[in-house]
Amino acid sequence: MAMLEVEELTMRFGGLKALDGLSFAVEEGRIVGLIGPNGAGKTTVFNLISRFYQPVGGRISFQGKDLLRLKPHQVLQLGIARTFQNLGLFPYMTVLDNLLVGRHIHFRTSSWALALGLGQREERAFRAEAEQLLERLGLAPLKGAVVGFLPYGTQKFIELARALMARAKLLLLDEPVAGMNAAETQMMGQFIKRVRDEYGLTVLLVEHDMSLVMGICERVVVLDFGRKIAEGTPEEVQHNPAVIEAYLGEEVEVA
């Protein structure tokens, strides 16, 4: 059984059918790409998994559990963390505090105890872990900086680090390299691969741009107008006529 299974998922916004009977599966340990032209419905898939929308029809299950019965704040408890296309950071918090919110559900101290000033040991332990993670990313000097003032590319890395703090099993990344230059894109790709291996994660990656997808994905699902038009390895997908048709006018780059 696959880790994430999406079956016959259909979503409507007013008269617009954003997803039309979409089915695909993500095997544990893989990096899977979900690609397609702008407006194909990729972010909508993530928002349905996050439970922000209620689908018109279909099923989503994670490790055999029905996701559609959950509320948005319960999804992470099951082991699914995500990033957002337009950044989901808390812009007026420091880098360190943003990372600590990533650890939110793992705090064991009760709110009453926290109000009385207890639970300092836990707070310090998580803080140290967050600092270590920043150290690895070379972002340690920025730990006290307010996130909203940092360059966009840096913020993308911090958002990914925050998702890692959540200790999830499945990572949903919505256009992690959007707005990045080639060097940053390269670095992000390497980083995603490395954390997948080290943390034993599974990654579902939405990308509009093909170069990253071809570089790191082991399997690719292609969407167009809310439907799956192709699925396979990056090489297979790249030469699929339907995919080339969908991306017509947009350059399909060969990595």
């Binding site: 704040h73 319960q74 408890q77 989901g88 600590l100 101290t109 926290l114 109000a115 307010v146």
Partner: protein, 324 residues
Amino acid sequence: MRRFILWSGALCLLALAPLFLRSYTLYILNMAGVYLVATLGLNLLTGYTGQLSIGHAGFLAIGAYAGALLPAKLAVPFWLSIPLAGIISGLAGFILLIPALRLTAIYLAIATLGFGAAVAEILPRWTAVTGGYQGMKVPKAAFLGLTLDSDVKLYYLALIIVILMILLARNIVGSKLGRAFVAIRDQERAAQALGISLTKYKASAFFISAFYTGIAGALYSFVVGYISPGEFDLAKSLLIFMMMALGGMGSIPGSVVGAVFLTFLPHWLSGFRGLQQFIYGAALVLVVIFAPYGIWGFVRRWTMPDKLQRLPRPLRAVVEFVRG
């Protein structure tokens, strides 16, 4: 270590203040303490969690009447009546959770306005308990055989409450609780995706905020000695809001500065008869123009320029409200 010395010095100064100050000044300081606690409460809700309220006088009233009625009618000991007043007011705070979970920022503001108005309407009509429009005399606070019958004694009560409430606020803001509040304020979706339940944390914010303001109300009743429904009107809600906004939203020192400043301002201006309202208004406009992050943000800009990036932010909901 330097901080420790600084704080002990400040504490000594505050503890010795009654030796140097007139009774009248102490009375105003006590009122500043009342508003400080209420402003902290509003700041935790509006400044930190982003839930706009312009009806906090309602909670101040509930706390004031609970603080006065519990000892007067039910013989509750006074040391217990203050926290109880906070809890009763805190529970009343859950009423506002319903609009907060359903409506947008502007409609929540209107709902809080309605809440404040409703409390102000109910109090005078509930004559049997509240004494109606004339109001009621508040029994003297007594503690271990000591009757708090002077401004000096009340000053120490206010001081202790203020310190405890500031420490509590610091713990809240510096923990996962405070981070969840700010997360909800700035990115509701991302907060949810990180496992933060909007229902749970908005409920906490409303309870804590109303709890603070209820405590402030109970202290108010003991400091003033006589309460009547007319005092808890929209003007009072707006006053608390101004204290928070002027001091600095999302900042504890800001609340302290804002509450003390706006409590003393009318007294400093009492010499300028006739011009008082004008100066008051002009001062507010000046602060809004030159210190958009509140007085505390303005102070930090001059004292710690390198930390400019950590200024508390003005509230998005307010900005949206003003822009329409």
